[in-house]
Amino acid sequence: MSTEVIRLTAPLSDPDAERLRAGQQVLISGIIYTGRDAAHKKLVELLDRGEELPVDLNGQIIYYVGPAPAKPGRVIGSAGPTTSGRMDAYTPRLLAAGLKAMIGKGARSEEVKEAMKKYKAVYLAAVGGAGALIARSIKKARVVAYPELGAEAVFELVVEDFPAIVVNDVWGGDLYLEGRKKYAILKE
């Protein structure tokens, strides 16, 4: 695994996504958006009706997170990734709409992996369960859609050096499969 850390500024361009490889560590700065299953369902319903999305997804990064409420004087509560597989049913539609990267934890479906190759998008993992640590890289947070969903609303986050690791690159690389294969002890 590469120890070189890649700095990314969100939103991302196609070349930004294309130069990433599974296993690389990245630090993201800029603006990213949050979304979980409930918000994804609403976004895809808008696409189905041919209506405009509350956020233009071109080049954007969606972080799968339902943050804890902010304590007084804080920007946000603990904010680690949730399981990405729950978004798989909706993801190819959002990739087609220009989404360039997703941050979460856990494996993606074959359909999503194929769509990532097709639309030149990447999947990044943040450390699940390290929500207190990750919250330190979030400098601003505001709700931009679906406030009625509470923790599941779409937030716009301003992040600085948000740490993640590339799991799926646009070339078909898959860290979960490669890492597991490397460390599995084969039983004959």
């Binding site: 695994m1 120890t3 296993g23 409930a38 997170v65 339902g66 943050p67 804890a68 409420p69 902010a70 304590k71 509560g77 603990s78 904010a79 680690g80 949730t82 399981t83 597989g85 934890k105 856990g106 494996a107 993992a125 450390v127 699940g128 369960g129 390290a130 929500g131 207190a132 640590l133 919250a135 330190r136 509470g150 923790a151 690791i165 860290l175 979960y176 490669e178 890492g179 597991r180 294969k181 490397k182 460390y183 599995a184 002890i185 039983k187």
Partner: protein, 268 residues
Amino acid sequence: MAGLCQEANFQLGADVLAAFEKGLQEETAPAGKDIFRQLLENARIAREESVPMCQDTGFAVVFVEIGQDVHITGGDLYAAINEGVSKGYREGYLRKSILNHPFERQNTGDNTPAVIHCRLVPGDQLKITVAPKGGGSENMSGLKMLKPAEGVAGVKKFVVEQVSFAGPNPCPPIIVGVGIGGTFEKAALLAKEALLRPVGQKNPRPEIAQLEEELLTEINQLGIGPQGLGGRVTALAVHVEVYAVHMASLPVAVNINCHAARHKSITL
């Protein structure tokens, strides 16, 4: 009650922290080692700043051991527990993750109701344990009614397959709770109770302690590793509980806990 909910979410137990230190030593994958360092740092921040270690502050699973000489007065015990959960989650800035109905899916706004398990025990004390349970690892749990002929080998196969299937999803390094025997619901409850044991404490029955050891070894040969990035430490511990069983049955339940193995108790 409210304090227990908050403490459980802010303060990771010494047993789990010790298991992280051990994992950091045993893990050979550089990325895996780095995960252990981040988890130790995360636990420190949560404790020092009184913020939840994970944004998923869980379903409040509450175990109550009621001494049979105790007489509870002044109202409904279940209502009192839920009131405590509500206060704890609201005042502690914990996330409210509970929805009213599997299909209506409206947030109840205060993380109630709790899942409450009461048990009568001898004595005159009341012991309450709060074990907030995250959704990601709960979703990777499973139960199977095996044929008795499948025996220990069948149980091991199912447990290892379940962990293998879960892969990176339940936030490894995990703790695996296994319930074997009883009925369908008893096996599930045993698996949950197994997670309440201090991490790595063995079952007092030598043959079950042996099974725990063998399962841990096999699981850590899967290569999943911390956060599923590849490595040797997929599970920190396997805890197995057993119960008497019907002659026709061999139920086995696997309840997976993420590394945020949270629980706090109080005895009144």
